[in-house]
Amino acid sequence: MKKILVVEDEALLRESYKLILSTEPYIIAVASDGKQALDMCMQMRYDLILLDLMMPKLDGTMFLEKAIDEQIDLPKVIVLSNLSSGDEIAKALMLGAYKNVVKADLSPRQLLSLVRYELQSV
């Protein structure tokens, strides 16, 4: 089964993503900030990471930077943020994120379709 890590500081969103993605045969893990996500990525290799950018402790871009520093081989990272453009997104893409999706634009079904589509190629 494909393993997905959801990194999202908003608890309600994190739980609803988990609920939605659990309707398909995936293993879902969640982290509430970049630091926790980094620790989890050191322990386990995931197939896909859904990464928020604006988070406490360690934000999304810093998580990507640290992963490079720590030589962690990250899987495909989809940035799910409510920033639709700007420096943070550009930085995340430069640091290896695969694409950016505005999470306010995604319905639960669209989220599932996105994940299904992106997992095809991993």
Partner: protein, 395 residues
């Protein structure tokens, strides 16, 4: 043959008379000029002649001023700085000196003078004096100063407006991001019901949930529009130019809207007369602008209406027309269609449609491509929105 003495005398007399006549004519010329103060000074700057223009300009009669030093016309601060003697020195060394500055009239008032002092030399090169020509340009100076002040004020106001605008853009951007987060949570949670992740919801409950879901979605669209406009206004939209096939793009938009027009029992069709409709453009932004026009066409066209996207090449430019046979636009509304927050009432719907930002944004984005959007419309007959795109966008 030598001239006879009486004949020589006659010739000399005639030449003297001619010279006297010429001198008298010059004197008459100089005396009669009223717009310029023209006078002569000795090598030390003492006034020797005075014309009518000088009297009019400076307020002194000839008897009052002849024999006085020309520094009498200078402001006390200029005299203290030695300006009169410096000007004579420059004129002596370089032949002439020009100046524009305040000078003093007899009554003590100041006027803005344009001054030329020319050194006068005899045939042997000895300095015999100076000619000074002065023109009163006070009116022009006041006009220039007023213009300069107005310009300074305008620049200050522009700067203030720019700062206000930047602060407004920052606020909209921040507010939009903050508003999106709770709206995203609502969308996901209600979406669990609306999209069937949570089963067995009573139909009447689902109807209420669906309304809340749609309303939240509309809020997200408004926030998205505000954010897009804030970005384009702040100059933060950077076009990603690629070779863009407009035929393909138009076909994709037609396909995208096929469900929407079917729901409204309208039709949508695509036509092209351009075998090659490629332009350098930002496909994502261009598509969003076209989607905006098509979305408006569907909203302002009644059931059974027809919408067409027509692509044509005109020289190097590519034209995309969005044609509907909808309610049309009154002539007085066409001019301000592209203003921010401009919304036209829709006789087809009681709902308040749109944010009034779509056309504003689309027009800005097409402008960034170096293109234009034109509108032709007749109430009751429909509208044609035309995007004109240059082949090579300068971005």
């Amino acid at each position: 043959m030598p001239q006879k003495p009486d004949s020589k005398l006659k010739t000399l007399k005639t030449e003297h008379e001619k010279a006297s006549d010429e001198l008298a004519r010059y004197k008459l010329l100089v005396d009669s000029i009223q717009d310029y103060a023209i006078f002569m000074m000795d090598p030390h700057g003492y006034i020797q002649t005075w014309n009518k223009g000088a009297q009019k300009n400076k307020g002194y009669t000839a008897s009052q001023i002849i024999g006085k030093h020309f520094s009498i016309f200078y402001a006390p601060e200029d005299i203290a700085a030695g300006k009169p003697s410096k000007e004579l020195e420059i004129a002596t060394n370089f032949g002439r000196v020009e100046d524009e500055d305040w000078r003093i009239k007899r009554d003590g008032t100041r006027f803005w003078a344009s001054v030329v002092i020319t050194a006068l030399r005899d045939p042997n090169g000895n300095l015999v004096g100076f000619a000074k020509v002065t023109r009163d340009l006070t009116d022009r100076k006041r006009y220039e100063d007023a213009l300069l002040n107005a310009n300074i004020q305008l620049k200050a106001q522009q700067k203030e407006l720019q700062l206000l605008n930047e602060s407004k853009d920052d606020f909209i951007s921040l507010a939009s991001h903050q508003l999106r987060t709770p709206a995203t949570v609502i969308k996901q949670l209600l979406g669990l019901f609306v999209e069937g992740f949570i089963p067995d919801v009573a139909e009447d409950h689902m109807s209420i949930i669906k309304k809340a879901y749609d309303s939240n979605d509309r809020q997200i669209q408004i926030v998205n529009s505000l954010l897009k406009v804030a970005q384009v206004d702040a100059g933060n939209v950077k076009l990603q130019l690629t070779d863009c096939d407009i035929n393909q793009l138009a076909e994709d938009v037609v396909a995208e809207f096929s469900d929407t027009v079917a729901e409204r029992r309208q039709t949508i069709a695509f036509q092209t007369n351009a075998s090659d409709a490629a332009v350098r453009a930002d496909a994502k932004h261009l598509r969003m602008a076209l989607e905006n026009l098509v979305c408006n066409a569907t909203k302002y066209t009644a059931q059974g209406g027809a919408i067409r996207i027509v692509v044509a090449r005109k020289g190097n430019a590519v034209r995309i027309e969005v044609i509907d046979n909808g309610v049309g636009i009154a002539a007085q509304d066409i001019g301000n269609l592209f203003e921010k927050f401009r919304r036209l009432p829709n006789i087809l719907s009681d709902e308040v449609g749109g944010t009034g930002l779509g056309l504003y944004w689309a027009n800005k984005v097409i402008s960034l491509h170096g293109g234009t959007i034109e509108v032709m419309s007749k109430p009751g007959r429909g509208s044609t929105f035309t995007i004109n795109l240059p082949q090579d966008t300068v971005a």
